[in-house]
Assembly symmetry: C2
């Protein structure tokens, strides 16, 4: 008897930024896995069970959820943002790929959500208004040389770039190094949009020139969006500045 595993994106944090589909998936689930603050936001009913998952290892958490689903339960794996963007969907797929054969019979329903870069972009204008990339600066699972290569490729080709997981206590130098690489390639006045905890309590949003960004002012809950050479700032009297990357690129641009 095989159950269901919902992998649910709850959006960037504000309760209004969840989709109706995610709400329905939460209501249909009996057991909940995920980072504790995400679970606590859900206001579970008394018959819904939060499964503690103190382990930081995502693959172990995915396996535990699949085991419980294989027993016939409706299990929810809760992510902030979108589960497919540097979150649990890939870990769940990897656990199925490498795990028990009967896990392939579990009904897997992945519910997309508004990911952090889209919420950050919306708060400041349209910094992702042309072609863009998302890069996680965490080198826990990939070598720094790959991240270095991807930053150079993206900046050199004129993509706007969203950085996820920019910095943490165990990864203190990576953002500084990433900014160094960008400063080799992009002009110092390139516009960087910085969203802190956007979604949760509306967070804070601002913009700096690439030359001004200081890693020590950035934390794990921050999403940085690096503009391209065409990204512009609109100053508004009595209103916050807007930042946008134009839809167009001139010939020979």
């Amino acid at each position: 008897m095989s159950g269901t595993l919902y992998v649910i994106g709850t959006g960037p944090g504000s309760p209004e930024q969840i989709t109706l589909e995610a709400q329905a998936a939460i209501a249909a689930s009996s057991h909940f896995f995920g980072y504790k603050p995400y679970i606590e936001r859900l206001n579970l009913s008394p018959d819904q069970v939060a499964v503690p998952s103190d382990n930081r290892e995502e693959l172990d958490r995915a396996r535990a959820a699949l085991e419980l689903a294989a027993e016939g339960n409706a299990v929810a794996m809760v992510s902030g943002g979108d589960p497919g963007v540097f979150a649990m969907a890939a870990a769940v797929c990897e656990a199925i790929d490498t795990g028990e054969p009967d896990w392939r019979g579990i009904e897997l329903i992945i519910v997309p959500g508004v990911t952090a870069m889209l919420a950050t972009a919306a708060r400041i204008g349209a910094p992702l208004g042309n072609d863009f990339c998302a890069i996680s600066l965490s080198d826990n699972l990939k070598p720094w040389a790959i991240i270095d290569k991807r930053i150079r490729a993206a900046a050199g080709a004129g993509f706007a770039i969203a950085f996820y997981n920019p910095i943490s206590k165990s990864r203190p130098w990576q953002l500084g190094k990433a900014l160094e690489i960008l400063r080799e390639i992009l002009p110092p006045e390139t516009v960087v949009s910085i969203g802190r905890g956007v979604g949760v309590h509306r967070g804070s949003i601002g913009r700096l020139a690439l030359s001004e960004v200081k890693p020590e002012t950035i934390d794990m809950s921050t999403c940085l969006i690096i503009g391209n050479a065409l990204t512009r700032v609109i100053e508004r009297p009595e209103k916050p500045d807007l930042v946008y990357t134009p839809r167009w690129v001139p010939e020979h641009g």
Copy 2:
């Protein structure tokens, strides 16, 4: 007297994939701009006005919406997906940047949504599970040489790549050319996820090897996600295949 302009992402098409915030913004608006099928989905009340905008020019549509907001109205500009991803937010910012000074006093509220690549990815697994790019194949506003350069940079650096606006009657050859470029760089067995109208009536989803994708089977409502060299397929008895790009990259990967 200055009004409000909401730029609203309604998600990929299914009514359940809209956020609560987008629903509230729709309820708060009196006048609606946007592509007709998006407006028709909204079930407007009799006192809410759909403003016809037959013109295909996004900048003109943005200007018309800003004029109406400047008169004190609560105006909605409706996009499918997310308004910041190849949609109206950048056009609205550009119209403010180049338009009437008093448009800078309009309350601009951009409401993010689930963009097509996230909905497509969720339907098939986690093909965007590592670093990824979004590229619009429309060369209406940027030279093809820029698109060529960006595809080469992204594929060469191991990004998964989502293609937006892959093909249309007026742009028949661009997808074929993009696939040619990819085939120069990536192995023929690279996994391509193909979502057609995902969201609307749940659409259809599938996967092909890069060598098998035929442009004539793709239409404007399709989102293609090109995997990287590590992207894997999980075959499941009696269930559709899953596709995922692992979170990890091996050393020297």
